[in-house]
């Protein structure tokens, strides 16, 4: 059964170096768990792409169309002529459109975040509580014992102060 070999490091620099070595040795499923965002992580583990910006854009676009349709549509459904002015009045309806664009953009961003970061987590995953305090953890998925030993060797030589083996729930 596949296990995760995790190495705990004191400093971000050594954790990043270890992750880089694992990646170089062919361990693709490598990740870093850290108490702060690590800015060099993408350089080591490869550039990440996120769909969040698409969610924001299309959410905003939907909100824009919805906002204007809401204002204009309800004005047509319930006619309220005022001083000979048009029923569909652009300037005030643009304000409603603007607000709905932002509201839907925000809600879509949240959905995009939850989907792309896989939240809320419904099962136990690899986690090291010290990583929320002051440890930088490199986690690597190993398919068999040989891989496991190789990963441990790399992590130890990179300066890991502790090695753990953790399993994820299926």
């Amino acid at each position: 059964m596949a296990t995760n070999t995790v190495g705990l490091f004191d400093a971000p620099a050594t954790a990043l170096a270890a992750a880089g070595e694992l990646k170089g040795a062919g361990f693709d499923a490598t990740s870093i768990i850290s108490p702060i965002p690590l800015h060099g992580a993408e350089k080591v583990l490869g550039e990440k792409k996120s769909a969040i910006k698409r969610f924001t854009f299309f959410g905003g676009l939907f909100g824009m169309l919805f906002g204007f349709s809401l204002a204009a549509g309800t004005a047509v459904l319930y006619l309220h002529p005022t001083g000979g002015r048009p029923i569909i009045t652009i300037p005030p309806f643009l304000i409603i459109t603007y607000e709905m664009t932002i509201l839907c953009g925000i809600l879509a961003t949240v959905i995009g975040f939850l989907v792309s970061a896989r939240f809320p987590a419904m099962r136990e995953r690899v986690y090291v509580p010290e990583a929320a305090v002051d440890k930088f953890v490199v986690s690597v998925l190993c398919s068999d014992d040989a891989h496991d030993r190789r990963a441990e060797e790399i992590l130890r030589s990179a300066g890991a102060e502790e090695i753990r083996r953790l399993r994820e729930e299926d």
Partner: protein, 454 residues
């Protein structure tokens, strides 16, 4: 950065978790007082007003808006602090924001809640407030989206939703950090709130993007909210209200009072939540500079308001200006000028900006002045419209004064609850400002400092 002593990552976790789980008698006494004041001064008079009708308030012809709406503008204004400090300083990479933005965002959220409640109080029949929501109904009625009041409904709903999401999303990593160090019901609560956050590189990446997008969306939203609030007044044809300067005037005033509010809250957090090492003179210095600039812009717009009124050459505008400067409410006007335009000049001195108690006093004075400004906008304009036979003085009734005080107690109560649920300073962002840990040699590393539970 801001830390005055050497702080380790573990210290940050420990100090913040301590602020959540260790609660002294002072906290409970303060909470009891604020809840009591809220019940006695806010809910009891409101109940009385609901029983006996809106006549319990001093609002009457010609001044049909009073302190309820002045409070509404004030609280909406205060809410702009979070947006400025959090979003603007986030996208401009200002690291000094990190110790204070969480509380600033909380101020935004609770100010908005209180502001919405003030609208409910102002309504004669608040049980019909759902009529402002566009939903299909058996009467086949729809709200009038050409009305500035509907702009308000849409803008404030959006702002409240956006602010709630913004503060929550930025706190997810901290909820996870607290989750690991708490037990019992608190642990269960943080398990739910943290959504299963682990701190992987992918999660940080996604959070970074989402947070930045939210910040970028919320800045124009905040500007629009207070512009729209100003249009509640400026779109009327009342002298002294019907002015194009009102939108920027309100936005600047909002950021000004919000920043002053942040100074007050920072002082209290620093002193009573033991965050002396995180909230330092640097923060007060920077906030002081910001306040000084805002006070100058605010003063300029006030001068401009008088100038454009005079330059219009209209008798009604002349009268509105004369009445504001020398009429019945003139003492309040000059108090506002003293507190918001003259006293803030003290912040030219760095010594003043880095002195905690004087900054606290000044920040409170600024917000008293800003409340007065909002009161004067409503009271001086409506009580002095076109025809002298329609003039009249407005004085708030005891019910209104009591609710005004009670709204402050409501804000304090919400904030006191907040500081025991949300980490009031951001754990991970504070860590980002600390020097990166150096790799230890094998002999130094020893047993980890981390302890599983408190």
């Amino acid at each position: 950065m801001q830390a005055e002593r050497d702080i380790s990552y573990a210290d940050v976790n420990r100090d913040v978790v301590r602020s959540l789980v260790e609660t002294g008698s002072k906290y409970y006494i303060t909470l009891a007082i604020s809840v009591s004041v809220m019940l006695a001064c806010f809910f009891a008079p409101w109940f009385y007003q609901l029983q006996y009708g809106i006549g319990a308030a001093g609002m009457n012809h010609p001044t049909v808006w009073g302190t309820y709406l002045a409070s509404f503008i004030f609280w909406i204004g205060l809410s702009h602090s979070g947006t400025l400090l959090s979003c603007v300083l986030h996208i401009t990479n200002s690291s000094w924001r990190k110790a204070m933005y969480r509380s600033a965002e909380a101020m935004t959220l609770f100010s908005l809640m209180v502001a919405v409640t003030m609208v409910m109080v102002h309504l004669g029949r608040p049980w019909f407030i759902h009529w402002a929501v566009p939903y299909p109904n058996q009467m086949e009625l729809w709200p009038n989206f050409r009305s500035p009041l509907m702009f308000d409904v849409m803008a404030i709903t959006t702002y409240l939703t956006g602010s709630t999401i913004f503060i929550y999303m930025g706190t997810i990593p901290d909820f996870a950090a607290v989750r690991d160090r708490t037990t019992g019901w608190r642990h269960h609560m943080y398990v739910l709130l943290s959504l299963g956050w682990r701190g992987t590189d992918t999660e940080w990446h996604r959070l970074g993007w989402a947070y930045t997008f939210l910040a970028v969306l919320i800045i124009p939203l905040a500007v629009s909210v207070h512009s729209i609030v100003s249009w509640d007044f400026a779109l009327s044809i009342v002298p002294a209200l019907h002015q194009t300067i009102f939108a920027p005037y309100f936005v600047v005033g909002a950021i000004y009072s919000g920043t002053a509010g942040i100074v007050t809250v920072m002082f209290v957090l620093r002193k009573y939540m033991n965050f002396e090492h995180y909230i330092t003179k640097l923060h007060f210095d920077n906030l002081g500079k910001l306040l000084l600039v805002l006070s100058l812009i605010w003063t300029y717009i006030n001068v401009l308001e008088i100038f454009t009124g005079w330059y219009s050459g209209t008798s009604t505008e002349y009268e509105a200006i004369r009445y504001k400067l020398f009429g019945y409410y003139a003492p309040l006007y000059w108090e506002m000028i003293l507190f918001c335009a003259v006293a803030p000049l003290l912040m030219i001195s760095k010594r003043f900006r880095t002195s905690f108690v004087p900054m606290l006093i000044l920040s409170i004075a600024i917000n008293i002045g800003m409340y007065t400004e909002r009161f004067l906008i409503v009271a001086t304009s409506l009580s002095r419209q076109y025809l002298p036979d329609a003039w009249g003085i407005y004085v708030p009734s005891l019910v209104e004064i009591s609710i005004m005080v009670g709204s402050l107690a409501m804000f304090v109560t919400l904030f006191l609850i907040f500081v025991k649920i949300f980490p009031s300073i951001s754990i991970y962002e504070i860590k980002e400002t600390l020097p990166e840990p150096e790799p230890k040699t094998q002999s130094e590393s020893g047993a980890p400092e981390w302890q599983p539970t408190l």
